[in-house]
């Protein structure tokens, strides 16, 4: 029973990570696709400003998920880390380079350095969710074997893995665009709002199509999971789809209230759907279940206790962080000032032109 509880905690942490970090990674996607220096400026500015205070805290969820995974389900953890070593390395590389590019870009001056660092940040923002997606796909398709001695390409370059990787990137873009619509609205920036509304619509359609394709592909690659998804987990998938459609409708109606909540619930429903669909299997294709793959009782109790303590301590902290961020009390200083300065300059330019 307690192993079910820990598995539920793990799925919950993954869902939270998908929502918050998804919005972060997606910021990199839109940064990459924002166009040239001048045209992409407002979008990049907004992304930079909104991500800066929260991106580090958002990514601690991943660490938490990994720690729970190895503590509570050590055999499965070791098998996944061994078989999917290469994509995990690439995802890690993305995490390191992303942070570096993001932090350094703020401090250098002049396009000569800002440009390569910005591209590093944006490109590695794609690298990480894509390769994490391939690892999830590798697990879902049952490509992890317990006696695997080394990483194989076949484990994560199968259609399920590649589809899941692409799905992750699309979902990140979707979450980021929805998040940025809200931020633009709060700043009264109607142009950026419209800009990200188009992108959110596009990304939600791509993500929806990729979700359907992934589930269909599971029909071949892991029939048991497919049956779970279309059976026991069907209500959750329907909920996810309904949320997606509701978001699309709101986007079409140009309404922004409820967008974030709906998109978050939608993504969480799909993550939970995966968990429920796979239950009680821990690692498809290995015979490893929650019953025979869990850590001893005392360890699981401790994990639950730690999660409870984390909830008591961390949730108020997060609420404070997001509240302050939403009220624009937290802001990356140089970037804001630069924006103010350039606004002044543009004003001067306007005046000059009129004369």
């Amino acid at each position: 029973m307690i192993s079910e509880l820990v598995a539920a905690i793990l799925i919950a942490v993954l869902a939270i990570y998908a929502i918050f970090a998804g919005a972060d990674f997606g910021g990199g996607l839109w940064d990459l696709l924002a166009g040239g220096d001048r045209r992409g400026r407002p979008a990049r500015q907004l992304i930079d400003e909104t991500i800066t205070p929260v991106w580090e805290a958002n990514h601690v969820w991943l660490i938490f998920a990994l720690v729970i995974f190895w503590t509570a389900f050590p055999v499965a953890f070791a098998a996944v880390m061994t078989v999917a070593a290469l994509p995990l390395w690439l995802a890690t590389l993305g995490i390191v380079l992303r942070g570096t590019g993001f932090a350094f870009r703020k401090e250098v001056q002049g396009l000569r350095w800002e440009r390569p660092l910005g591209v590093t940040f944006a490109f590695s923002s794609l690298l990480t969710p894509f390769f994490m997606g391939t690892v999830v796909g590798c697990v879902a398709a049952g490509k992890v074997s317990l006696d695997g001695q080394h990483s194989t390409l076949a484990a994560w370059t199968n259609p399920t893995s590649l589809l899941t990787g692409s799905l992750f990137v699309a979902v990140c873009g979707y979450m980021a665009a929805i998040f940025l619509i809200g931020e633009a609205a709060r700043r009264g920036d109607h142009r950026s709002k419209r800009y990200f509304r188009h992108r959110a619509t596009l990304a939600s359609m791509v993500a929806g199509a990729l979700s359907i394709a992934t589930v269909t592909e599971l029909h071949h690659s892991n029939h048991a999971l497919y049956e779970g998804l279309t059976g026991r987990a069907l209500p959750l998938l329907v909920l996810g789809a309904a949320c997606g459609l509701a978001v699309l409708a709101l986007l079409a109606l140009e309404r922004s209230t409820g967008l974030r909540a709906l998109s978050g619930i939608g993504v969480a429903a799909v993550v939970w759907g995966w968990g429920v669909g796979q239950y009680p299997t821990l690692l498809p294709g290995t015979g490893l279940t929650l019953a025979n793959g869990s850590a001893p009782h005392a360890t699981l109790v401790m994990v639950v206790a730690v999660f409870g303590a984390a909830g008591l301590l961390v949730v108020p902290g997060f609420l404070l962080l997001f509240r302050l961020q939403a009220r624009q009390i937290l802001s990356p200083t140089p970037s804001t000032r630069r924006a103010e300065q350039s606004a002044v300059h543009e004003g001067v330019d306007d005046v000059c032109e009129r004369r």
Partner: protein, 372 residues
């Protein structure tokens, strides 16, 4: 992880909480600069310090457990029960936790102080630089004697808990009474060359008597000894030596304060103080070499060898090289960026004295936009 994950994961999961708090409040503290009220900003920094302490203790719980594993029962190669408190507060935690926590404060204190000491040497002696030096330096210097006591206790405990590690640290070639203390020197084929030998001192330090018996490297077969005793011994000497040296500026400062109620003026004091920061980092790293290399060939002491724990994936050398190259590049880039910030900051000193993240450049090209 496959085998001991349910045990060693516990301290790491506790660390997760503090990692979270640290990240959250770092975000608030850094980006709330001059936007939050003075006291609100101050209080937002307190959780960072507190979670830093408890996070460090959690990590040290995991590391000390590797040195003195306990708190679990095994049946047929599987862990069947765990006692979390015994895992967290294992035998080695009692000395490893305070030793590393103090080391962290020494590195931070001497590190920050040495920046201002360099400023002093360059002639910046305003109140800001005096305080910037005095606060961290006094903190670190006051903790140094405490670290000495803790380190000494730790070494004695290791002589009992992990005698082979201790034998490598002190070049105890064979178990004997009246063991000599070696300073420096190289160990090869069971012999010590080029060391300063002090008869009986090692026994005295371990058992408060020259007759105390000290366990030597010969107590275990060669395969169970650490592979490079000279590295462990020299790293231990470097750590203890640098720790002793850092007492000199402390005594100097005390003397100057006692006689004149002022910071010392002599150039040599400031050179020593400037060197104390890098020296503290070197001492800490040397300490890690002692404890980690000294535990070899074990990764979990006497239960699992490092070779058994290693990944079965090929290409370890390749991935290690890639990581080293990547971090070398990032390290160089970080130094360059910090220098750039310092230059820009100094150039902007007059208009904006207290901007935390560097004033904007007056360079027009910076206004061209963010990156592409």
């Amino acid at each position: 992880m496959r085998k001991y994950g349910p045990v060693i994961g516990l301290p790491f999961s506790v660390e997760g909480i503090f990692f979270f708090l640290e990240a959250i409040f770092t975000g608030i503290y850094l980006y709330g600069w001059r936007r939050l009220g003075g006291w609100a900003h101050f209080w937002s920094g307190i959780p960072i310090a507190v979670s830093g302490i408890f996070g460090a203790l959690s990590v040290m719980a995991a590391n000390s457990w590797m040195n003195q594993p306990g708190g679990f029962t095994m049946k047929a190669g599987r862990i069947v029960s765990v006692e979390p408190l015994k895992v967290f507060f294992n035998r080695a935690a009692a000395y490893e936790m305070p030793h590393m926590l103090l080391a962290a404060y020494l590195v931070a204190g001497f590190g920050v102080a040495s920046v201002y000491a360099v400023g002093f040497l360059r002639g910046r002696r305003d109140r800001y630089h005096r305080l910037g030096f005095a606060i961290p330096f006094v903190l670190a210097a006051a903790l140094t004697p405490v670290e000495f006591l803790v380190g000494d206790t730790a070494a004695r405990a290791i002589a009992t808990d992990q005698p082979v590690k201790f034998a490598a640290m002190e070049y105890v070639t064979h178990t004997a009474r009246d063991a000599p203390e070696y300073l420096g020197g190289v160990y090869a084929d069971g012999h010590v060359y080029g060391a300063l030998r002090i008869p009986g001192l090692d026994s005295l330090l371990v058992g408060f008597s020259t007759h105390a018996k000290v366990t030597g490297l010969d107590s275990v077969p060669p395969a169970d000894r650490p592979p490079v005793p000279w590295l462990i011994h020299l790293a231990f000497d470097v750590m203890a030596g640098l720790g002793s040296l850092s007492l000199i500026p402390l005594l100097w400062l005390l003397l100057a304060w006692w006689r004149r109620r002022a910071l010392p003026k002599h150039r040599w004091f400031w050179l020593l103080a400037a060197g104390a920061g890098p020296a503290a980092v070197v001492a800490m790293e040397a300490g890690w070499i002692v404890t980690e290399v000294g535990r070899q060939p074990w990764v979990v002491y006497k239960l699992m060898t490092t070779a058994q724990a290693a990944t079965t994936n090929p290409g370890v050398i390749a991935s290690l090289s890639a990581v080293i190259v990547l971090y070398a590049v990032l390290g160089v880039a970080t130094i360059l960026i910090l220098r750039l910030l310092a230059r820009r900051w100094r150039a902007g000193d007059e208009q904006e004295a207290a901007v935390p993240y560097g004033p904007p450049s007056t360079d027009a090209s910076a206004l061209g936009g963010e990156a592409a």
